[in-house]
Symmetry: C3
Subunit: 504 residues, 3 copies
C-alpha cells in the first residue's frame, strides 16, 4: 500500500516534470488520428528515401490529431482557428498528401508524382485551410511584404545592389556589377524571401530512379516574404520548420534570432544579454514550450520573443493576458530598426506605398520629418502600447513598467538626435561636393552614416526596449561606436575637403 | 514481485535522473512551510495582478522552507548563514511580506499599501537577516562599490561622459553634452548600478485602480552596486533574479555573462570557447545546479564561473575543496581587466581611495608603476592563488596546473608590455602636441590606445586565464587586433604630425 | 491491475523519454566491467586527489564495458574497430592503468609513480589499441598535421610571427620580436597543437607530498595536431574530452566550435544562424547524442557538424546513410577556408608538400592558379560530394539539394573573384612600391587583403555551404565588409601613392 502510494506520487511527479517531453510528442493517451491512404502511400516510399522528414512529421501534432479532434478542444486550447475544415480532411491526420495536394489548381508547381498529383511548395494559402486567422493576420505584416519592401523600394534596392554587387578593379578605379541571384538569395533575400517561379518540368536522377519534377527558381527558400508558385506570399516554415511545424521551436528565440541579429537587427543578441534572456537560458530546460494557452509563471518564468510579440498568454487562473497574433506589429507602437529614425509603425505591411516630404518611399525624411499620413496615429499607438504593457504586467508593477518605458522614450529621442548629427555631417559633405549624393551608400562618409543608424542607433534602441544589454549599448555596438563614428565622419569630411582643395 | 523490483529500480533511476528538476522545486516529500497571514493577503491580490512573480516565488525554496527548518540542516548543506533568525520570521515561509516589511524604519521607500506598510526595494541589508555572511562578504567587494568606483573616480567619470554624452555638429565642429540619466542607466550604470532615491509619493493608475506609491528615481535597476533607499549598496537580485532567488541561475554562466562580456570584459565569451565551456554546454542538462554543497565530478564535470570564484565545492567524499564566498576577489590574486595594466588586486572594494605616483586614483601609473600601498601584498596573493589552485586540483594534476599558470604569468607580462608600447606612442602624440592630454579619451590616438588595453589586452589575459579561446586571443579580439592597432596608432601619429607641419 | 498497466505504460514512457540520460551513463541493466587491480590502486588515491576526473571516468562507457564485451556488439553498434584486443585488456574496464601504461617503451614521458610505471600523455597510438580505424583515418588528415602545416610552411609561419610577435616603439618606428612559446600556445597552437617534449624529471610538491614527474614542454595542450612524447601526432581528447571520452560531446557543435569560429573559421557561428542550428538549439534536449549508430529522424531531426562530416548515420530502417569517418575531408570535395581562394581538397593531410606555380607551398597562386598535382581530381571530388549529398538526402529531395549546391558553386566563384579584385589592388601597391611584398602581412593594404579572404570571403562561403546565416553573409562578416574593404584598399592605395609622391 505504502509502495503504491509512493509509486503514484512519484509517477505524478514524473508526469509533471516530463510534461514538456510528453507534449512535444502529442498528447499521451490520445488515440492517434488515422492516416489517409494517399499519405500511407507517400510514407511507404519516403520512409526509405527521406526518412528524416517522415520521422520529423511522425513526432509532430499533425501526425496524431485530426482537424476534427482539434476543433473539439476548448477555445483557449485550440491551435486551429477555422470554424470548420473540409470534410475530406477532417478525420484523418494532417499528412503528406493532405497538405501537398491542397488547392492544386492554384499551384503552378503541381506535378504528377508516382500516380498522385501534388505540389512542391505548401503555402500560407494552403495552411489557411485550418489556420485561417493566423494567415489573415500575417497577410498584412511587413514580413509578408518583405521582398517588395526591400526590392521595390528604390532606396533600399540601391543599398542592396551597392553591397552585394561584384566589384572590379580596373585602371585604378573600382566598378560594381549587378548582384547575382545566388548572392541575393544567400544574403538579403535569405531572410526577406525569394520569389519561387516554375520554369516548366525537369528530369532529375534520384535514388528512386529518374523523376520528372517542376523546375523552380530560387528554391529552397524559407524567407518570411517568399513569393509562392500559387501567387501567395509568406512562408510559415520560416518559424515553424519544416515537417514538425513546431510551436516549441517558434516560441524559442533561436528562431527569431536567425534573422533578427547582429549587427543590423540585434534583437536576439540584446535579448541574450538581458535579464529575461539570462533567466531563459538558465531555465529553458524546465519550461513548457508546447502548452496552449501559454501560462505565465507556470509554463515559463521569463518571456521569449514570442511571449511579448505573438503568443496567446494566460495567467494560471486562465485569464487572458494577451491574445494570440500573427501580426508582428500588433503589440508595437514604434518602429526602432531598419531606418535612420525611430518612428510610429506604418499603417500597412506594404511600405512601398509610403511617400515622405522628399517624395521618397521612406517613413521619415533624412532630417526626421515623419510621413504621418502613412503611420499609425496616437490612438492606435496607445492601443498597441497598452497590449505590450499588459504582458509586462504579468510580472512587473505599474511603476516598474512606467520607469522602463520612460527610459525607452528618452533613448528614442537621443538616438534620433545622434542620427541627425550624423546626417548633418553627411549633408555638409554633399554640400561641399566631396561626396556625391546620387548613390547615398557608396562613399566613405555615406557608409559611416549608414552604420551610424543601421548598426549603432538601432542596437541602442533594442537594448533600451528589452531593458537589458548594458554592455551592448555601451561598448559592443552602442555609444562607444556612435562616438567613434561621429569622429570618423568628421575626420573623413576634413580629409576629403583637404584633398579637394589640394586638387584645385 | 519482479515487477515491483523493476518499478523500484526504475523509480530509483528516475529519481537520480530527475534530481535537478526535483531540487529546483524544493525538496520532494518535505512539509512545505506555512505562509504568514500577511503573505497570504499579498498573494490573494498579486496572484491576479502579477501572476508571474507569484508563480516564480512558489517554485522557489523561499516558499517551501521556513528559516527555522533551514537552520536545522547540516552545516555543509545550509544555505543560510545567520546563527538564528527573528522569531516572527522563523517558522513561516519566506514570503512577500516577510521581505518587503523588513527594517521598514530604514527604508525611505516605505509606504502604505492596502492596509500594510511595506517597502518597494528589498536590499542586501534585508537579505542579511538570514544570509549574514554572504552580505558581509559582499559589502567590501568592488561590485558593492561599483557606482562610486566608476562615477566618483574622475578618470573614469570623464571616460563615461566622453562616450555617452550627446554629440552635436555645429560650424564644422563636434561638441559633446552631458549624458542623460536614462542613457547612463542603460549603459555603464546598467551593470554598475544606479542610485535609487525616493522623491515623495505619486498616484498611479493600475489594473487594481488608483494607488499611491513611492516615486523612485532610476528604477527599475539591478546593477551590482545599486544604491538603495535604505542607504545600503548592492543588489542580490543581480545574480539571484527576481522572485525565484535561484542558486541554479547564479551558478550558470549566463548570469555572469550579462555584464562580463565582449568587448571590454569578455569573460563569458572566452569561457564559451574554452574546453570547460565546451563541456558545460554539452552536459549542462545532466548536471545538478541546485545541490548544496556542490559536488565536483558528481554535480558537474567542468566548472562554471561560480565554481572557481564563489561556490562551496566539495569532493564526492564530502571533503571541502573550496569554501563559499561572496567576495568575488577572494580567490583572485591579480586583476586582469578594466585597467591598462594587470596588477595585484586592490586591498579594498572601494577603489577611489587609491592614489598612484601621478596622484590619480588608479592602481598603476600610465607607465605601469603600481600603487603598491593600495594593492594586496605577495603573501595575500599567494593565499588567494592557493585557493584557486585548490579548485583546479579537483580535476588536474599539480604539473598541469603549474604549466597553465606559467603561461598566464607570461601573458600578463607580454600584454602589459604591449600596453606600454601603445602608451609610448600616445605619449609621443601628446609630446608633439598633435593630441591634447586634458581629456585622454576623446581623440583618435587616445581612443586607439583605450581599446588597445580595454578590449584587446584584457581579452588575451582572459583567454589565458581560462586556458582556452585560442581563436579569441588570436583573431577575434586578440593579437591580430593588437598588431593592427599599433600600426594604426603609428599611422595616425604620422598623419597628424604631417597635418600639423602642413598648417605651420 | 489497471494501476499495474498504468505504471508499466508510464515506465515505458519514461524509459523512452529518458533514453538520452540513461545512455550517457552506460547501458542500464548491463553488468559493469570489473576493474584491474592496478586501476583500483590508481582510483584509491586519485578519488581523493583528483576526484573530478575519477567521477568523470566513472560516468563514461570506458568504466562499465570491457573491450571484450564491446567487441561482441553487432557491427553497426560497435564503438571499437579493432578485430581483437590484447588479452590482458580484454576483460577489464578501460581504466586509468590500462591507458596510462600502454606502449610504455615508446613513451619518453614514462615514469615511476607510487610503484607503477606509467606515462602522462595518452596518445592516438595508444587509443589505436581498440580504435584502430579511427586512428588510421585521422592519421592522414590536415588536423593530424596541423602543427607542421602552419609552422613549417614559411608563408604561414611568417603570418603567425607577424601577428603574435611583441611590438616595440623605438625612435618613431615599430619593431617586432619573435613570439613567445606561451603566446603561440595560447593562440595559433592552442588549436593546431603544441609539441610536448620531455625535458627530464622534476620534483614537484603536491597534496600527496613530493613527487617526481616528467618535465614536459608545452603542457597541457589538446590541439588537434599535438606532437606527443611517443612520437605520434594528434590528440583524441580535443573532441572527446577528457576522462569521459564522450561521443555526446564530440557530436555537439560546441566542440567543433572551439576552433572553427569567428572571425577566420566561422563554421560554428554560421551553423548557429542556420535553420539546422535553429532546430538544433530548440530541440537538443530531446535528442539522443549517444546512440550508435546515429539514427536520422529518430535520434536527431537536424544535423550537427558531426552528422554531416563524421558520424555513422543510419535510417530508422537500419540502412546506412553514411559510414563513420575520422578523416574530416572524407565527405569534402572543396576547401573553402584558410586560403585566399577556394580550391579542391589537397590529396594529403600534410600540406607542406604542395608547391604551386610560384614555388610556394600553397594550393593556388596569389592569382588563383591551382597546384592541381597536389589536389584531388574530379573523380575523387565527385565521390566525396556524393557522400555529402547522401546525408542531405535523409531529409531533402534531390531538387532541393541541387538547388542548394548550385548556389554554393556560384558563391565559390564570386568570392574567389572578389579575392582576385583585392589581390589586384595589392599587386598594384607592390608595383608602385608603396608597400613591400617581402612580408605580405605587415602593412596596411596587405592586412586589408588578408582579412578580405581570411575573414569575409571564408565567412560567405561557410554561410552558403550551410544554407543559412544570411545576415552573417550580408552585414556581419560578409558582403558589406567586402565592399568596405575594397574601398578601404583603394583609399589606402591612393593615400600611400600621394604620400610617396609628396616625399619625392
Amino acid at each position: 500500500m505504502i509502495r503504491s502510494i509512493t509509486v503514484s506520487a512519484l509517477c505524478a511527479f514524473f508526469i509533471f516534470a516530463l510534461l514538456p517531453f510528453a507534449l512535444s510528442a502529442g498528447p499521451p493517451g490520445s488515440q492517434p488520428a488515422k492516416l489517409s491512404p494517399e499519405t500511407e502511400a507517400c510514407i511507404g516510399c519516403h520512409e526509405q528515401f527521406t526518412p528524416g522528414i517522415v520521422a520529423d512529421w511522425r513526432a509532430s501534432r499533425h501526425s496524431v490529431i485530426s482537424p476534427a479532434d482539434a476543433l473539439k478542444k476548448p477555445a483557449l486550447q485550440r491551435r486551429v482557428s477555422a470554424e470548420s475544415v473540409p470534410s475530406q480532411l477532417a478525420s484523418v491526420a494532417v499528412g503528406c498528401y493532405e497538405c501537398h495536394s491542397l488547392n492544386l489548381a492554384n499551384h503552378k508547381d503541381t506535378f504528377e508524382h508516382n500516380g498522385f498529383r501534388i505540389q512542391v511548395v505548401v503555402s500560407p494559402n494552403d495552411c489557411k485551410t485550418c489556420h485561417v486567422l493566423e494567415v489573415q493576420q500575417y497577410a498584412d505584416t511587413k514580413k509578408a511584404h518583405a521582398i517588395k519592401n526591400l526590392m521595390a523600394n528604390p532606396v533600399y534596392h540601391l543599398l542592396v545592389e551597392t553591397i552585394t554587387g561584384m566589384k572590379k578593379f580596373e585602371k585604378g578605379r573600382i566598378t560594381s556589377q549587378p548582384a547575382s541571384d545566388a548572392t541575393l538569395h544567400e544574403t538579403c533575400l535569405g531572410c526577406h524571401g525569394t520569389t519561387v517561379e516554375v520554369k516548366g518540368l525537369q528530369k532529375i536522377s534520384t535514388a528512386m530512379g529518374e523523376l520528372e519534377v517542376p523546375k523552380l527558381t530560387n528554391w529552397p527558400n524559407q524567407g518570411v516574404g517568399r513569393g509562392n508558385p500559387d501567387g501567395s506570399i509568406g512562408a510559415c516554415s520560416s518559424c515553424h520548420p519544416r515537417h514538425s511545424f513546431s510551436i516549441e521551436i517558434a516560441r524559442k528565440p533561436y528562431t527569431c534570432g536567425q534573422c533578427h541579429l547582429e549587427p543590423d537587427v540585434p534583437a536576439y543578441n540584446v535579448y541574450k544579454e538581458s535579464k529575461h534572456g539570462n533567466i531563459y537560458k538558465s531555465k529553458e530546460h524546465a519550461w513548457n514550450f508546447s502548452n496552449v494557452p501559454w501560462v505565465a509563471g507556470k509554463d515559463f518564468t521569463a518571456p521569449t520573443c514570442a511571449t511579448c510579440h505573438n503568443s496567446l498568454v494566460t495567467a494560471p487562473s486562465g485569464e487572458v493576458i494577451a491574445e494570440r497574433t500573427h501580426n508582428f506589429s500588433d503589440r508595437l507602437w514604434v518602429r526602432i530598426f531598419g531606418l535612420p529614425y525611430a518612428h510610429p509603425q506604418p499603417k500597412a505591411g506594404n511600405t512601398t506605398i509610403i511617400k515622405n516630404a522628399d517624395g521618397l518611399p521612406l517613413p521619415t525624411t533624412f532630417t526626421n520629418l515623419p510621413a504621418s499620413t502613412f503611420l499609425i496615429d496616437k490612438a492606435e499607438q496607445d492601443k498597441r502600447f497598452a497590449k505590450m504593457k499588459g504582458v509586462c504586467a504579468s510580472c512587473h508593477t505599474t511603476a516598474w513598467i512606467s520607469g522602463h518605458f520612460a527610459k525607452l522614450d528618452s533613448t528614442i529621442q537621443e538616438t534620433n538626435d545622434m542620427t541627425l548629427t550624423a546626417t548633418q555631417i553627411l549633408a555638409e559633405a554633399w554640400r561641399r561636393g566631396v561626396e556625391d549624393k546620387k548613390n547615398p551608400f557608396n562613399e566613405t562618409i555615406e557608409q559611416l552614416w549608414l552604420r551610424h543608424w543601421l548598426f549603432y542607433g538601432n542596437s541602442i534602441r533594442y537594448a533600451s526596449a528589452m531593458t537589458g544589454a548594458p554592455d551592448y549599448a555601451a561598448f559592443k555596438n552602442g555609444w562607444w561606436e556612435l562616438m567613434l563614428n561621429i569622429n570618423a565622419m568628421k575626420d573623413a569630411l576634413d580629409y576629403k575637403t583637404m584633398l579637394k582643395k589640394g586638387r584645385k
